[in-house]
Subunit: 425 residues, 2 copies
């Protein structure tokens, strides 16, 4: 992973404010305990937890495995979907016979759920693995989708059900009563920071991904972001750059990913930023309506959709470009069939995309638009793990700089209360 | 389709400014000509064009048809993807044997393109239909993907290739030279306004959708938006509401779709708003950096991701909620397996989602957040056609109110020039 930034960035004052939190994170990893919300940074270093995940994964693995059904929403599925789609899901439609596949059951959509249930009923329990993930254990959508799934499969599939939840939650208790397998999440770790807990690791290992490489990437990002010196500390650099823009009123952060397989990674980051930093009140209780609005753009698609706005529209955005060059090479014939764009003849697909990417950055530079850049060293578990930990630490830093609590979500209660009122009438 | 708005909206001044454009649009449809950019409103009324599309669709239809490969990007595929995903694509992974499927080849991604080419090579030409869509005829990504596809299939498939482009474009000429079928797009109609031209209609008809119902919905939306009186004119109402917010500095428009199958419809709208209204200069040439930043949220997923920001964060957003109740009914058992959320027992999936939807709107109301609502009468070709035409007219109205040209995209040239420089070295 490389991090590039053109402008000189970061005030000394901002940097100084981050030193105590860097020390705090370092101390958490040293102490190996889960006592504060920031303890999510410990997860990649928690070998005991990872061993338990791997052991259960092996216990439940069958040569017949075709579908992993992940029932969960928000923090309980976005991290898995980010990694899965980057490495396999983006190609699923083109590879009908590549198994196992993960099927995501998140929101409530009767047509979709009905088709999932039909698919499940046409498979034997050994071909399936059902994961019910809800930290609180009382997420409405997850409860509904779990009920539908369990009713469709019957008790024969009970040995193929794993609940991932907080210890002693309603789901934990119910799963225990029914003899389902259970993996627990450290209570202090919030859903959007939980991808390196069993919430992320278990679905990924049973779908065949290398969770050791994934956590190795995270460990590397953590070491990198616990250095107290710029410019080696990417997370500190990007947090200070985003904060500097924020203070100037630039409060939309566009993550512009030049690889469509990374769109779900963008959606994972979108939750992390929106839910962590969008806060009505600051730490001292005053109304601040803080928040960075995250947007996700995909290159080159959104050059044909959003870029007129980005280049010409309001100066209210800061951009992080992400390029993730592919290993696969594909060459355009040098004798073109339809010579409509002669200059692509004989080039590789990657070369043409790279020219578009560099052209886009040049346009941003010439318009003076604030931007930075992350370059993946290929799309792999390790690089995804690096990116995700980097972004979680960046978000913790930003919470500190904005003076808000990055770990709660008080406003969400409002719609939940209203929903419960309606549901209980 | 129902349109609901809670606040009193729209200044008389704004309304008066829209009367001439309403008259202009009505005159275009009466005259049945394509002479000005706004002539896109004529497309659903153009029976000659639709007949040609249907005829070619029938000519090329085979009982063996499995895959339609749509090679196109931006305005050349977003409209088709919007309709396809809403009605079928969202379920494609769950229905391996449901054909024909549309495969979209838009950006440059070697791994994905390689897998598409493998899929194509394992099918006979009669199972495939290749559509190359580019208005200008010189879109780089489309040229590259077309070359790769044609090289993989060889001349045996030439009878199964259709080019959709402007008359006399480079693609038009090359397709003519090779004897491909050609459908043309009226030159004055821009890509983002072209969904009711052959760009949208041809791929949809060959994939089995009812394009008559689709254009019927559009006609209805047009009649509805050519009434000079509020509140019957939904497009005028929503344009005035968005404009009023814009003038107050509220420049993010969130389209919050409570049906995940509509996500691609959101992306189609995102292009329409961003590219039409994001402009550096106003009609009189002064620098205004105008633009509404469109965002797309999906209910209920983004309640678990974005809503803390929306309810507690910066007051810089206006929201259009879209609900699209499903016909399919699915009931949760009254005897729950895991009684974690007891109040869902015996309810239908739709009822629970509806409670969440109403709960969300109640939360927005109690926070005083500006919002409006569109209610689909089910997800169908007709309702999608209504929505799309409604939104295109709304965007034309907003261009008028903002005093900018909604039909060009001058800033995009900047990155294209830079890219060409790199590609030609």
């Amino acid at each position: 992973m490389k991090f590039l930034i053109s402008d000189g960035i970061g005030t000394m004052e901002g940097k100084v404010r981050l030193i105590p939190i860097i020390e705090k994170l370092t101390e958490i990893v040293r102490s190996k305990t889960y006592e504060v919300h920031e303890a999510s940074v410990m997860l990649p270093f928690d070998e005991v937890m990872r061993e338990e995940v791997l052991r259960l994964g092996e216990e439940l693995s069958t040569p017949k495995q075709k579908y992993v059904i992940l029932i969960g929403i928000g923090g309980s599925n976005l991290g898995v979907k980010a990694v899965y789609d980057a490495l396999r899901g983006y190609y699923d439609l083109l590879e009908e016979n590549h198994f196992p596949k993960i099927i995501f059951l998140d929101t409530l959509q009767a047509t979709y759920a009905g088709k999932v249930l039909n698919l499940l009923k046409s498979h034997s329990p050994e071909e399936l693995l059902i994961i019910i993930a809800s930290k609180s254990g009382t997420t409405t959508e997850t409860a509904v989708n779990a009920e539908l799934t369990l009713a469709a499969l019957g008790t024969a599939a009970h040995g193929r059900v794993v609940a991932i939840t907080d210890e002693a939650s309603a789901l934990w208790q119910a799963a225990k009563d029914r003899g389902f397998k259970i993996l627990t999440v450290p209570r202090v770790v919030g859903g959007r920071f939980s991808v390196f807990s069993p919430v992320g690791l278990f679905p990924l290992t049973v779908a065949g991904f290398d969770i050791e490489a994934f956590t190795d990437g995270a460990k590397l990002a953590f070491s990198n972001s616990s250095i107290a010196e710029l410019p080696e500390n990417f997370a500190m650099q990007s947090a200070l750059y985003l904060y500097e823009a924020y203070e100037k009123g630039i409060r939309i952060h566009d993550l512009f990913l030049f690889n469509p397989a990374l769109e779900s990674l963008g959606k994972w980051y979108r939750q992390l930023v929106a839910e962590s930093l969008g806060k009505e009140k600051s730490n001292d209780g005053s109304i601040v309506n803080a928040g960075i609005t995250p947007t996700v753009s995909i290159g080159s698609n959104d050059l044909h959709s959003m870029v007129e706005l980005y280049l010409g529209g309001p100066r209210d955005k800061i951009t992080t470009f992400v390029s993730a060059p592919e290993i696969a090479a594909l060459t355009i014939p040098s004798e073109l069939n339809l010579p409509t764009v002669p200059m692509v003849a004989g080039k590789s697909v990657g070369e043409v995309l790279s020219a578009i990417y560099e052209g886009t950055k040049a346009a941003y530079r010439s318009k003076g638009l604030p931007h930075m850049e992350l370059v993946f060293d290929g799309v792999s578990e390790k690089e995804l793990g690096y990116f995700m930990q980097h972004k979680m630490v960046e978000t913790i830093f930003l919470g500190e700089l904005l003076g808000i609590n990055a770990f709660n979500q008080p406003s969400v209660e409002l719609y939940k209360q209203e929903t419960r009122k309606i549901l209980s009438t």
